[in-house]
């Protein structure tokens, strides 16, 4: 799908340039955009390096573990199908904690582990369970305290205050998360 979108943007661009009889535009845009893309990517590489380094220190200091322990009691009511103390719950908590701190690279392994543990409880292994749906929904609209990528992109673009979006992004993602959980709860109750 991303392949189709990508090709469509280029082909439509060439088509519109052709309509104006301006082939030069395509060539000059191509090279100019490639050069500025490289500049952006290199800047981003530097910021990602710092960010990944700091997030590894946070992980080693056990901050992720502490946050996950705080989150577990909040998560239990969302996953009534998972038995008390089941390993899937702690994996989910770690995944949500990592997302919350904007540590996308740390979140994925915990997410995969959570799916694996939930699959063990699945009576029909080819069909998604209600707990998995809740988990995926939680992931798609997860509250983010630190939108690290967006802050890095703003720093790269020379924003005077790159971190200014932290508050607004936390509010927006928190609201979306509450909404999705409500819809999920509604659908689940209707299915019973």
């Amino acid at each position: 799908m991303v392949n189709i979108l990508w090709a469509a943007m280029i082909l439509m661009g060439i088509g519109f340039a052709a309509l104006q009889g301006n082939g030069e535009l395509v060539t000059s845009t191509l090279f100019a955009q490639a050069a500025s893309g490289l500049a952006v990517a290199l800047n981003l590489l530097a910021l990602l390096t710092v960010w990944f380094g700091l997030s590894r220190v946070a992980e080693r200091a056990g901050l992720l573990n502490s946050l996950a322990r705080l989150l577990t009691p909040l998560l239990r009511p969302l996953f009534p199908g998972l038995p008390h103390g089941h390993p899937s719950l702690s994996a989910i908590a770690m995944n949500i904690a990592a997302n919350f701190l904007g540590l996308a690279n740390a979140a994925t392994p915990f997410g995969l582990k959570a799916m694996e543990e939930m699959q063990r409880l699945n009576p029909r292994p080819d069909t998604v369970t209600p707990a998995m749906i809740t988990f995926l929904a939680l992931n798609s609209a997860c509250a983010t305290l630190l939108p690290a990528t967006a802050v890095a992109l703003r720093a790269q673009a020379g924003a005077p205050e790159p971190a200014r979006i932290i508050g607004p992004a936390a509010a927006a993602s928190g609201a979306a998360m509450v909404f999705v959980l409500l819809v999920d709860g509604f659908l689940r109750r209707r299915a019973h």
């Binding site: 990517a41 901050l63 998604v128 609209a141 967006a150 802050v151 927006a172």
Partner: protein, 174 residues
């Protein structure tokens, strides 16, 4: 508003370092080890971002974006979205790197603190690469019948976009 947001990041870094030192973590060694992962990801992003930059640039400079935006404007305007944000909404669920390229381009075109630039940044923080995550997580355990899981996740992204729009709108009104 900006003042307390500006202290979240420094605060987290300071807390992290203090806790890490108290737990006898070799902070600099761990930083360097983690930073290497960042370098690897950054290198992988270079071709992805250049690819998107070229495509988005051609799409915009040729006037194609203006045309598509003109077609979609009535629908987007009904909700209050600026039409320039459309490519981001379309690409965000598929690829994080591609979305980063689109946002970087929007920030360069309109400025990071413009309404569009701010909205794009908040949207990035309040949505997810849904198709990628769903395919990865469901595929990893061999689930083929996903029922309404993906729809619900897309609804989550949509809710994130709308929430981003309202929050940004509120900020720019103040």
């Amino acid at each position: 508003m900006g003042s307390w947001s500006a202290w979240i990041l420094p605060g987290l870094v300071a807390v992290t370092l203090v806790v890490a030192l108290r737990r006898r973590v070799a902070v600099y060694d761990e930083f360097v080890a983690g930073a290497m992962d960042g370098v690897r990801l950054g290198l992988r992003l270079i071709p992805l971002i250049i690819g998107i930059y070229v495509a988005v640039g051609l799409f915009r400079e040729s006037g194609a974006l203006a045309w598509v935006a003109g077609q979609a404007a009535p629908f987007l305007a009904a909700v209050g979205f600026p039409a320039e944000i459309l490519p981001l909404m379309l690409i965000r669920p598929f690829s994080n790197a591609a979305a980063m390229g689109v946002i970087a381009d929007l920030l360069a075109q309109h400025g990071p603190d413009s309404f569009i630039g701010f909205l794009a940044s908040v949207m990035q923080g309040s949505s997810e690469t849904t198709f990628y995550v769903a395919a990865l997580y469901l595929g990893s355990v061999g689930i083929r019948r996903s029922l309404h899981a993906v729809h619900l996740c897309l609804l989550g992204d949509l809710a994130g976009y709308l929430a981003a729009l309202w929050v940004t709108g509120l900020l720019f009104l103040l």
